[in-house]
Subunit: 395 residues, 2 copies
């Protein structure tokens, strides 16, 4: 507890690495943090008061809500019941940002894609799948066809809860369907397979006054459904693509702006895209800070974490520009294991390499940290950083 | 408590803003922090386990020392008894860095100046004052004379424990002497008054392997004995001075290197200088991170806080260069009061301005935060930042 309790207390639902980095960015602004998370030990506990409890436990929610100035969240699968209960016990002066409507859309791939379509944001063809018959119907070549992707509408992340349906699966759709929907009650969505040339994301902010700012478009590489590396700005990492980077940036800003204004959003929103033939095709939104933006800690004048906190706390936004006009940022995720906690794998011996560990015990397919490097796209130090990160990758 | 207790735990003596910023820099490296401080509420408590207890209380020291990997400190007035006791209870594998010898020298202005002289580091003329007779003797025009400065040898900071003796004080030396030494037992030092043209400091690091790195020389402005603003690199803020900045940098590096090697130092050492006629005259050392280096958080590839932690934790040092070769950094201290905790005085409305609050209740002459701006020496945004900071200054 700091000397003065006059400093605002920010509540975060979820105590993982995103909450940890939000608090690390907000504490220098004089803010204090409390997280609610059912796990007994969480990454944010180093920098925040941790209330251990279930998101729907009224007693835990009451202890969490006591004295907060604002509530935000670090993951999109917050149960609706949690927010309803919080709304019923919070004073009217304590907002929940970003707006829960963005959360409920972000939790459901079908609603999300319907929203993209309604806002004229390019989106892959999709269909609601409520039965095996639906699946057979929509995988017919005259409709979405094969290849396509069958996903659970809710609770998917990092490649979990989805299956690619290839033409050779035409006769085995039933088994894939039942594997994703063993109870017969899991809502599914079928999505057109986009043979994309690149993946991208944009981080965008909106304040309570309606001011909107965006970060430069980010180029992403996933592997086994998990983000492996990100580079920014996209324009500096697109020499292999025959597209106009300024046009891509404009498409991303347009999509993000429509979404932010639709929700009367407050805070940071992430939109992920596939790029095909020069068109950004919206894949999903995350109503929160995002892994693909972790390089903003070193690469941007104000990071995604600081700006999300500024937005939800009602403070003016910081500058979203790169720290210099020609800055390029490389991000590598550390997934799985580390040989040595003290100087993991030698990242710190690379000049200019920034290491971020989340205080998590290593295990397969677990994001335990990331490394950042500022430097030209072909900077040998960045190549070295990515090499080390790849050698550790365990999925 | 983080999920895994395998992450090293760093102990810091003192829980003020320097400990707070050390922990904020070290937590992303996967390190955890514990501070010992007698105050009930301290700035570092937001980011570290706080043991409340006196620095000489064996019980508090035992609780503090339990499970630590290394001990460091954030202020130079740690009682010798504290370190002696810690030395007696710590396992041999747990070091105290920087070495306590640097602490005891840094606590005593006489020993400090004697060390400068022995290392051939330019220093103002000085004399040990153990009696009023000594004072009359050394203020004689044939010796140090007047003007000069009478200081307590120990426990002075931010302009406290010192008095400027001007020629008109020749007949009232006794009253000034007794005001600084009411008990008759306070050891004093008389120092030559240096009519300096500028003030400067350097931050320098040494690892356990003897590697040394330095940050660019910093230009400082004090007011009422308290650091008011700092700018770096000195070379970009010296157009009013007829000195060769590269030569000044070299003098500072030479002085710091001699001191680091003398102590077989581990961690960050600050040396403060007066500049007179192109010569750096050493004024004092601080065996710790330093207020004049707070701009390194935004202005340097690795900050003074991260690098001190890397050094004492036995990790490789980070790059001490500015984030780009032409980066200039401005630092303004917030001393006294703030009109509004939420967006104090509008700092956050200045594009690119970074605000750091320490979680302290405002009061006169108290450092409650700082603001940083990267930009050219005459950047109007920096001018605005300094104007706001000056308007708040209450000493």
């Amino acid at each position: 507890m700091p000397p003065s309790s006059t400093f605002p207390l920010i509540g975060i639902l979820g105590g993982g690495q995103l909450a940890r980095m939000l608090a690390l960015a907000g504490i220098p602004l004089g803010l204090r943090f409390r997280v609610l998370d059912p796990a007994p030990a969480v990454p944010a506990a180093d920098v925040a008061d941790h209330i251990q409890g279930d998101y729907t436990d009224p007693d835990a929610l009451a202890r969490f809500a006591e004295g907060l100035s604002v509530i935000t969240y670090e993951f999109e699968n917050v149960p609706a019941r949690c927010l309803t209960h919080l709304g019923s016990i919070l004073p009217a002066s304590v907002p929940i940002y970003p707006p829960p409507a963005a959360l409920s859309i972000g939790q459901d791939r079908l609603l999300e894609k319907q929203l993209f379509r309604s806002l004229d944001i390019p989106v892959a063809n999709f269909a609601d799948i409520t039965s095996l018959d639906d699946l057979h119907h929509h995988t017919h070549p005259s409709r979405i066809g094969l290849p396509s992707i069958l996903k659970t509408r809710t609770l998917g992340y990092d490649g979990k809860g989805q299956a690619v349906l290839r033409p050779e699966h035409a006769s085995s759709l039933a088994s894939i369907y039942h594997a994703l929907n063993p109870s017969g009650t899991t809502p599914l969505i079928l999505e057109e397979f986009i043979p994309f040339q690149a993946e991208a994301s944009i981080l965008a902010l909106r304040t309570i006054h309606g001011e909107i700012r965006t970060y430069p478009l980010i180029r992403n590489v996933h592997s086994s459904g998990i983000l492996r590396r990100s580079c920014a700005p996209f324009s500096s990492f697109s020499s292999d693509l025959p597209f106009n980077p300024a046009d891509l940036q404009q498409q991303a800003v347009t999509a993000a702006t429509r979404l932010l204004n639709h929700f009367r959003y407050v805070g940071l929103l992430t939109v992920e895209f596939f790029i095909k033939d020069g068109i950004l095709i919206a894949n999903e939104i995350a109503p929160r800070v995002h892994n693909s933006g972790h390089w903003t800690i070193e690469g941007s004048i104000s990071s995604q974490f600081e700006n999300h906190i500024r937005a939800v706390a009602g403070l003016p936004l910081g500058d979203t520009a790169m720290i210099t006009p020609d800055t390029c940022a490389h991000l590598a995720n550390l997934v799985g294991d580390l040989p040595d906690i003290a100087d993991p794998a030698g990242f710190l011996t690379i000049p200019g390499c920034h290491l971020h560990l989340y205080g998590k015990s290593p295990r397969s397919a677990r994001k335990i940290g990331h490394a950042t490097m500022l430097g030209a796209p072909t900077d040998p130090r960045a190549v070295k950083m990515h090499e080390i990160a790849s050698s550790l990758w365990k999925v």
